[in-house]
């Protein structure tokens, strides 16, 4: 189950479009998106700000899955579990120990890093479908584990934990929703930059080498076991931080929030955005946030049928996701431009 798409790789050549290199276009686009992201809360209602915050949170989670699947070629149907661990870590720390919300994020990240690494160790022995089944099992087991009566003192059992939404600090004149939006945006930018760094680093190259040819990677002296487990760990860290933010924004965690369906949503976001593409994660986040709502508007009774139909349509139009589609279109455009010249 490996896929070999990689935006970071494909941008090596310097094709030009309208006189500017693709790199420049990317930069311009990034800046525009950022400016819009900064300005949006000023013009939107709190509710829409809240939705966009969720989009960013999903994007971070999808990015985590992407680091595992897109960069390292491993497959997971169980990332809802790490999202849950992150969310519960934050909820328990805030609710039981009164830890401020921003301090819970790194803790959630580290807890998930360890959990992911540990899960990655046995998963090493499993490949393809077997890994899919193992992670699938993890996703299904998560709500049950969270409900476990011997953990109830901490997890609140089936009732879950309600937490208090933080106010903007330093007396900033922002509503809670807007403050959390900017807070999440900052985390998102940090996490995205870190991911790009990681992908471009030695570690990133090792991960990709393992994805593309595990045997050769091993022969080159790459400690594949360590890197594969680490990929699981880092991936879980990202998803865990997303879960942690999710708990703060939604103000509530309960076993029912972290079902297998969530893991499937991440996977959908990953593929729709583009496997291996870092900016694609944002598209994925937008998709899993808004398309179900759109489907519900089209038909209430058949909302999920509509959603399924949209999904199929998307895959038909963009079999390699939005990122692959963009690459295809820009490729065509540059070729068209250069042939006109």
């Amino acid at each position: 189950m490996t896929t070999r798409e990689d935006i970071a790789d494909s941008a090596v050549a310097v094709p030009r479009l309208g006189g500017l290199t693709l790199r420049t276009w990317q930069r311009v686009l990034t800046i525009i998106v950022l400016l819009i992201a900064l300005a949006l809360p000023a013009v939107l209602k709190n509710f829409h700000v809240f939705q966009l915050t969720l989009v960013m949170i999903y994007a971070i989670a999808i990015l985590g899955l992407n680091l595992l699947t897109g960069i390292n070629g491993q497959f997971s149907l169980g990332h809802s579990a790490f999202y849950a661990i992150g969310a519960y870590t934050t909820a328990i720390l805030m609710d039981r120990f009164g830890v401020p919300y921003f301090l819970t994020l790194p803790v959630a990240g580290i807890v998930c890093l360890i959990a992911g690494f540990l899960f990655g160790l046995p998963a090493l022995r499993l490949e393809g479908l077997y890994l899919a089944l193992a992670t699938f099992a993890l996703a299904v087991a998560t709500p049950q584990l969270l409900k476990l009566s011997i953990l109830e003192h901490w997890t609140g059992g089936v009732q879950g934990i309600v937490i208090i939404k933080p106010d903007a600090p330093f007396g900033l004149p922002l509503s809670q929703d807007r403050w959390l939006y900017y807070f999440t945006l900052a985390i998102l930018i940090f996490m995205f930059l870190a991911a790009m760094r990681l992908v471009a680093s030695r570690t990133g190259r090792a991960l990709k080498a393992i994805r593309d040819n595990p045997l050769a990677a091993k022969a080159m002296g790459i400690d594949t076991a360590f890197y594969k487990s680490m990929a699981f760990g880092v991936s879980a860290l990202y998803t865990g931080v997303a879960g942690s933010l999710g708990a703060i924004v939604v103000q509530f965690v309960a076993p029912d929030s972290f079902t297998f369906f969530l893991a499937v949503s991440f996977l959908v976001g990953l593929v729709v955005g583009g496997v291996g593409s870092i900016p694609g994660a944002l598209i994925g986040g937008l998709f899993i946030m808004y398309i179900p709502n759109l489907a519900e508007q089209v038909s209430k009774g058949l909302a999920w049928a509509v959603y399924g139909a949209i999904l199929i349509l998307v895959i038909y139009v963009m079999p390699t996701g939005a990122a692959g589609f963009v690459r295809l279109v820009t490729g065509r455009l540059t070729r068209l431009m250069s042939s006109n010249r």
Partner: protein, 292 residues
């Protein structure tokens, strides 16, 4: 000891459900080298078709056969219509289409037939056989049908040219084309057969768990687990794997102290993963050996 025996028998009865589903899983795996995550929903949908036919006055066995035929055609049509156009897309894109199919079938079934449970008739007598009350007549009948399916599949795959062609097409499509096999149609045929087996599974399972759009949600997972434990390439293994999962789950739920009753599914899954780590090709699967 008595409890153990009872749980063992109950495990065999539920194991029959999983075995039935596991067979369908192996069937599709043999033809597309992959799981179909919408397989449970396809089986559920087929069962609704059978229910609808009976509601229109069809006798059981005619509805049974018609449903198998309709499901077979449906499977072929889904492959030709939905998957042929994207056969070159990455595997993950296929999984997304499975998920889409899952949503569509579940939603359409719920919309058409409502979400409330319906009873589905069993073709077997309702009186327990041999006056034993531990395993019902339907359970035994279901196991018998599963075994019949198993034999049919075995004969198809091991003793017919068509079966050989299907296996070849799944294992190595490029080489299969080179010996003149129409790989696309073999895959479509595999889909058809998987859908047909799924339909039988659904019609056997529905009398036990009742018919409703979500009836296959949990069962598919157990079926997958059974198929994987048994080794994805072996129908016999899948059936045995299905029974094994049923028994392990019941015994774990009853005898593992403290957390057993709350985590019987989890414990069963952990055991399965453990088995896979020791024996990655499943208990009965043949490892694909190849020299580099």
């Amino acid at each position: 000891m008595e409890l153990f025996l009872h749980q063992l028998l109950a495990g065999i009865a539920t194991g029959g459900i999983y075995a039935c589903m596991a067979l369908a899983v192996v069937m599709i795996y043999q033809s597309i080298d992959h799981f179909n995550f919408a397989q449970g929903e396809m089986a559920m949908f087929s069962t609704y078709i059978a229910w609808q036919l009976m509601a229109w006055g069809c006798p059981y066995w005619i509805a049974f056969i018609l449903t198998i035929v309709i499901s077979f055609i449906g499977g072929v049509v889904i492959e030709r219509g939905l998957f042929k156009p994207i056969r070159n897309a990455p595997v993950l894109s296929h999984i997304i289409v499975f998920i889409a199919m899952f949503s569509i079938l579940n939603s359409v079934a719920g919309f058409t037939w409502e979400y409330t449970i319906k009873s589905f008739p069993s073709p077997f007598p309702s009186q327990p056989l041999f006056n034993n009350r531990l395993i019902g007549a339907h359970d035994l009948g279901m196991i018998a049908i599963t075994l019949i399916l198993l034999v049919l599949l075995y004969v198809l795959f091991r003793h017919t040219r068509l079966g050989l062609a299907m296996r070849a097409a799944a294992a190595n499509p490029d080489s299969a084309r080179l010996v003149g096999i129409r790989v696309g149609w073999m895959v479509a045929l595999g889909w058809g057969l998987a859908a047909a087996i799924g339909a039988v599974a659904g019609m056997m399972i529905a009398p036990v768990v009742f018919l409703e759009p979500n009836m296959m949600l949990g069962i598919l997972l157990y079926g997958l687990a059974g198929a994987v434990v048994g080794g994805l390439t072996s129908p016999v293994g899948a059936v045995l794997g299905g029974f094994a999962v049923g028994i392990v789950e019941n015994l774990a739920g009853t005898f593992v102290p403290v957390v057993g009753k709350e985590l019987k599914l989890t414990i069963a899954l952990v055991l399965i993963v453990a088995v896979l780590m020791v024996k990655p090709s499943g208990l009965f699967g043949r490892a694909a050996v190849s020299r580099v």
